[in-house]
C-alpha cells in the first residue's frame, strides 16, 4: 500500500526528513508519533503528494505519490480543519462527495460514523474545535478510501471522544483500510498496532507498542521514548 524509500524533504533550506524508509500494508493501524517539529506533518503531506520531495521515492498503491490516478484514494485530515467554515456540515460533505462522484447517501453514512448526524445543519464556524475535526474526518471518509492519513485528529478532544475515534480507526483498519494517525501525545501509542517514532526527521523506532515498552523496560510511553532518544545519542 505504502512504500517509502530514502525519503528526503528540504523546506526553505532545512532538511525536514532525512532518508526515511518504511512500508505499510493493507489494514495496518499505524501511529506516527513524535514531538511537534519532528516532521510528522511533512511526512503526511508527502504521502498525499502535496509536498515537493527532495530525494528518495514514495509509492502509494504502486504509483508515485501525487499521481493523478491516486486522487481520492487517500482520505486526509490536516491539522487545519480544511473544511469551509461558512458552510453547514452537510453542505461541506455534499460538495466533497460531489467532487468524488459519491452518491448523497454517502454523506449520511460518514456523518453517522463520526456521530455528527444531529449537527448536519449547523454552520461549521459555530462548532467547537473537536466537532470541526470530526467534520474534517467525515470528509476524509467519503468514498471509503483505501488509505487514511490523519494528522493529529484527536488533539484537544475529550477522553470519551478520543476513545471513540480510536475505536473507529481500529474498525476501519480491521475492514482493510490502512490508517496512519499522527500524534504528539505518546500515550496514544497504546491504541496502535504499529508505531513509527519520529524525531528531528529521523525514524527512531518502527515496531509494536509492546516492543517499545519491553525494550525500554518501562510502563510509560513517555519514558520509553526518552530512553530511546538517550540510547541513540
Amino acid at each position: 500500500m505504502i512504500d517509502v524509500k530514502d525519503l528526503r524533504v528540504i523546506r526553505q533550506g532545512n532538511e525536514i526528513l532525512h532518508e526515511l524508509s518504511f512500508r505499510a500494508g493493507a489494514g495496518e493501524l499505524i501511529g506516527l508519533l513524535g514531538p511537534s517539529g519532528s516532521g510528522k506533518s511533512t511526512l503526511m503531506r508527502s504521502l498525499l503528494g502535496v509536498q515537493m520531495l527532495s530525494g528518495g521515492t514514495l509509492q502509494i498503491l504502486e504509483r508515485p505519490a501525487g499521481s493523478a490516478s491516486l486522487r481520492g484514494a487517500l482520505g486526509y485530515v490536516a491539522q487545519s480543519s480544511s473544511v469551509y467554515l461558512d458552510l453547514t456540515v452537510e453542505e461541506n460533505l455534499r460538495y466533497f462527495a460531489g467532487i468524488l462522484h459519491e452518491p448523497r447517501s454517502e454523506v449520511g453514512r460518514v456523518l453517522a460514523v463520526v456521530s455528527l448526524t444531529t449537527l448536519a445543519g449547523r454552520v461549521v464556524s459555530s462548532l467547537s474545535g473537536g466537532e470541526r475535526t470530526r467534520v474534517s474526518l467525515a470528509t476524509a471518509l467519503l468514498g471509503s478510501p483505501p488509505i487514511l492519513v490523519l494528522d493529529e485528529p484527536t488533539v484537544g478532544l475529550d477522553p470519551i471522544l478520543r476513545r471513540d475515534l480510536w475505536r473507529t480507526f481500529d474498525e476501519l483498519a480491521k475492514s482493510g483500510t490502512t490508517v496512519v494517525v499522527s500524534s504528539h501525545v505518546m500515550d496514544e501509542a497504546a491504541h496502535c498496532a504499529r508505531l513509527l517514532l519520529l524525531r528531528d526527521g529521523r525514524l527512531l523506532f518502527d515496531d509494536s507498542p509492546a516492543k517499545l515498552l519491553a525494550a525500554a523496560k518501562s510502563s510509560s510511553y513517555d519514558e520509553a521514548f526518552e530512553r530511546l532518544i538517550e540510547s541513540q545519542s
Binding site: L48, V50, Q51, G66, R71, Y84, L87, Y95, I99
Partner: protein, 241 residues
Amino acid sequence: MNPRRILFTTQRILQQLRHDPRTIGLLLLVPSALTGLLAWTLSGRPGTFQTIGPQLLGVFPLIVMFLVTSVITLRERTVGTLERLFTLPLTKGEFITGYALAFALLAILQSILVATLSYTWYGLAHQGVPWRISLVALCAGLLGTAFGLALSAVAHTEFQAVQFMPAFILPQLLLCGLFVPVGQLPVALRLVADVLPMTAAIHAISNFQSTSYYAGQFAILVGFIFGGLGVGAATLRRRTK
C-alpha cells in the same frame, strides 16, 4: 474538464455567499449606491454625468469583484480546503472555472441592477444600446474576479490582499481616461494606459456607438479575462515546497 465538478464548485461558492447576506448586499448595492451618489453630486452639471456615469459602470464592478474574489480564494488557501481539493479529483481548470461562473452570476446581477437604476432613477439618458454598456460592466466584474484569483497567490494574508487593491486598481483608475483623456497623457503614461484592462473598458463604453471599435476593445477585455484566469490557474500549485 468535467462540468459536474465545475457546477458543484460554483454551487458551493454561492452557498458560502448565501450564508453571508451582508457580503451579497454590499456586492450588489455598493456599485449602485456609488453611481447614484455620483449622479447626485453632478446634478448641477447634467452633461457630466451623461459622460462619466456609463464609464463608472466599467470601474465599480471591477473593484468590488477584485476584492471579494481575492479574499475568498485566499481564505481557501489559508484554511487548507485548497490543499484538500488538490488531493481529490478536481482539476485546476475546473476549480477556476467554478469560481469564474459563480462570480459571473453575481457580476450579471450587479450590472443589471446598476444599469437599471442608472437608466431609470439616476437619469442616465444614453442614446440606445444599454446592453452594450451592461456587457462591459459584466466584463469588468469578471476581470476583477480573474485578477483577484491571480493576486490571491501573491498575497499571504487577507490584510495583504486588501492592500493590493490600491496598489493594483488605483493606478489603472488614474490612467484609464476617467480624469484625463488618454490622448492627453504624457507619452510614457499613454503607452502604459493603452495596455491596461480598465482603459479598454472605458474605451469600449465611451465609443459604444462605433460597432467595430467597441468590438475591438471588447475583445481586448475578454482577452484580459482569460489571461487573468490563466495566470490564476498557473499560480495554483498541487505540490508546495
